[in-house]
């Protein structure tokens, strides 16, 4: 009882409560965002129409929402698995570039493989690259107690510079934009709805939600990761090697980030472009936090963020509202959910405090 009890005393809102919190935060963010628009004299209703209703009016735009959501699912899962072990992987943003570079190199450089095998080789290469790079901050953390927030952020800058260097100087497609040559057709993931970029990567992302759910909920490894994340001391006393767990969780997290890069290169663009990520890694942190690190929650949140992201490009074309307004909206949702979670987690403690105050007043 004592250890198990200790494992359950942190961060605990159920899935339903969490869904309600997210819904209310979403509405609040819409209201706050609407206020911003009103202050500038915009007509709010058509803007909300393009943001929230229009994407559902045609299958074409729905597909585009899924395209936007695909990398976000990987990003959310990647951050969530590290979070489960109480490791803060801000390095997804760098790891995904490294994975993308590996996928682009293997996709363009290796020839003569049958299509399915070629894709598999590229994907595994990307996962390995991302995973190994995530191991560096993990090792620094367990060996030297270097906080992973600092090391991963610094590594993001380094990786981005190195990947840019490789693309521009060594591996450049002849053309105006700095990008790598196209990957071979045998390395492309199957397109599901051309001309949109929807590809098998989306199905893979959805399947991974199930895999990670099973991993965390139904396997000893997942249980250990969860236990170490919830209460490190209790986990150690029950014989868990927490250092190895941190390494494992970061390896999985980095591999998922690499997979994100591979999906963009092999499924989306067909090549690797400098600075292609609009900040997937940071979005992933918001998604995982809002979803309470639940894989299915990550899927739903990624779809919602994908909807907002598609709505943002829509707004850019149809109205004179800049797409950054949508980014402000999702940042507000993030802040509101964090605040609401904190308040709800503290409610029992507050109630207890009030009761004890009353007792003190009337003995």
């Amino acid at each position: 009882m004592s250890i198990l009890g200790a494992l359950h005393n942190r961060r605990g809102t159920g899935a339903l409560t969490q869904a309600a919190i997210v819904a209310v935060s979403f509405l609040l963010a819409l209201a706050a965002g609407g206020l911003l628009l009103l202050m500038q004299g915009h007509d709010v209703l058509p803007i909300y129409y393009y943001l929230l209703i229009q994407p559902f009016t045609s299958p074409d735009s729905l597909v585009k929402v899924l395209v936007k959501a695909t990398p976000l699912i990987f990003a959310g899962l990647s951050v969530a698995i590290a979070f489960k072990c109480d490791v803060f992987n801000i390095g997804v943003e760098g790891q995904l570039y490294a994975g993308a570079l590996a996928a682009a190199a293997l996709g363009a450089g290796v020839s003569g493989l049958p299509p399915a095998l070629h894709v598999l080789v590229c994907v595994l290469g990307a996962m390995l690259t991302g995973g190994v790079l995530a191991l560096i901050p993990a090792w620094l953390k367990v060996r030297f107690r270097v906080h992973e927030v600092i090391s991963t952020i610094m590594m993001n800058y380094v990786i981005n510079n190195v990947v840019t260097l490789v693309i521009v100087d060594y591996f450049r497609h002849s053309g105006p934009t700095p990008r790598t040559p196209d990957v071979l057709p045998s390395a492309r993931m199957t397109q599901l709805a051309p001309p949109s970029q929807l590809n098998t990567g989306f199905l893979l992302a959805a399947a991974l939600c199930v895999v990670l759910y099973v991993l965390v909920q139904r396997t000893p490894l997942g249980w250990r990761i969860d236990a170490a994340g919830k209460n490190l001391c209790a986990a150690r006393y029950s014989g868990i090697n927490s250092k190895r767990l941190v390494l494992t969780a970061m390896l999985i997290s980095g591999a998922l980030a690499g997979l994100l890069g591979a999906e963009r290169v092999l499924g989306g663009f067909g090549y690797l472009q400098v600075n292609f990520s609009p900040g997937y890694g940071y979005d992933g942190i918001a998604i995982a936090t809002i979803a309470n690190n639940n894989p299915f929650g990550c899927l739903l949140m990624a779809l919602l963020m994908g909807l907002l992201s598609y709505g943002g490009t829509n707004l850019n074309i149809m109205t004179d509202v800049p797409s950054e307004w949508v980014n402000v909206l999702s940042a507000l949702i993030f802040v509101f959910v964090v605040a609401a979670n904190a308040v709800i987690c503290r409610l029992p403690a507050l109630r207890e405090k009030r009761r004890s105050m009353k007792r003190r007043v009337q003995p």
């Binding site: 030297f144 600092i150 952020i153 800058y157 380094v158 940071y282 402000v328 964090v338």
Partner: protein, 298 residues
């Protein structure tokens, strides 16, 4: 040709924001509240300073607005961390995301440009008599930003505040053992709030320095990691105001070398630009290793 005096000038220019962010930020860290939102706080301040300077045509109003924005944003951080007890990294990151997007959105809706704002009145540079005539270091004092000159008194003040006043003792006590401090009669929350706000104050100065002294406009993402490197400077400087200043100078020097080496040696710019970040990781690692060795020796 690499000139010593331009490296010196660039070192001081690059380390100003790092030293300011670090010297204030270490109070929060010392009190047990770490703030990776320093980056976003600086960004908000830089933008607020430009807005105020634009509308009033007075850079002093800009400076005041920058500092006010820094304090307000850190108040938000303090409220989430101390009152609501949210994970410090998460809310810090949320502040960074909010800052990155809100400033760009506001820039595009106020000034009609997402990338940068119009040029505004900037703080005057000072030229220090006598010192400016010295060889080699003379360029340093020829036209130095007012805020850069403020760094040394602020660092000394921080040193005094942290080690020589009851308030500083309270901050240290709260960070080391909040329960013991509480039992000894220290108001833990108030101490932590003021410590975090001190960080907001200096980050406000740092942000204003970047936008209305170093440049005279706001540029999208203009802080570009300085907030994070300021945190690294806090760790590397072992949470000590003077140590943090030295660490900031060290990182500023790395940045100056990066600028000096660009175009002069046959190393790609991208590799040179990595230098400060790699040094940060190495510096923090060695620092932690040293701390571990010492605690193992005890």
């Amino acid at each position: 040709m690499i000139s010593v005096s331009s490296i010196l000038v660039n070192t001081v220019t690059s380390s100003t924001a790092l030293a300011l962010g670090g010297v204030g930020g270490l109070f929060g860290e010392r009190s047990g509240i770490s703030n990776i939102g320093l980056e976003g706080t600086m960004l908000f301040s830089a933008f607020a300073a430009v807005c105020a300077s634009y509308y009033t045509a007075s850079p002093w109003a800009g400076l005041a607005a920058g500092v006010a924005a820094g304090v307000l944003v850190s108040l938000l951080h303090a409220y989430f961390c101390i009152t609501l007890k949210v994970n410090q990294s998460i809310i810090g990151l949320a502040i960074n995301i909010l800052a990155a997007n809100l400033t760009v959105y506001a820039s595009s809706s106020i000034f009609g440009n997402k990338g940068f704002t119009p040029s505004v009145a900037k703080l005057p540079d000072v030229s220090v008599p006598l010192l400016r005539d010295l060889p080699v270091v003379g360029d340093l004092f020829g036209g130095v930003s007012l805020i850069t000159l403020l760094v040394i008194p602020i660092a000394l003040l921080a040193f005094y505040l942290l080690y020589k006043t009851p308030y500083g003792m309270r901050v240290i006590a709260v960070g080391q053992n909040p329960t013991a401090a509480y039992v000894a009669g220290v108001n833990v929350k108030r101490t932590q709030y003021t410590a975090v706000l001190l960080g907001g104050f200096t980050c406000g100065l740092a942000g204003a320095y970047l936008s209305i002294s170093y440049l005279s406009m706001f540029v999208r993402d203009m802080v570009s990691g300085r907030g994070f490197i300021a945190i690294a400077a806090i760790l590397f400087g072992r949470y000590d105001p003077l140590g943090v200043c030295l660490a900031a100078l060290f990182f500023g020097f790395a940045d100056a070398m990066q600028i000096a080496l660009q175009g002069t040696v046959r190393i790609p710019n991208e590799v040179i630009q990595c230098i400060p970040y790699v040094l940060t990781i190495l510096a923090v690692t060695f620092n932690e290793a040293r701390v571990m060795k010492r605690s193992a020796a005890l």
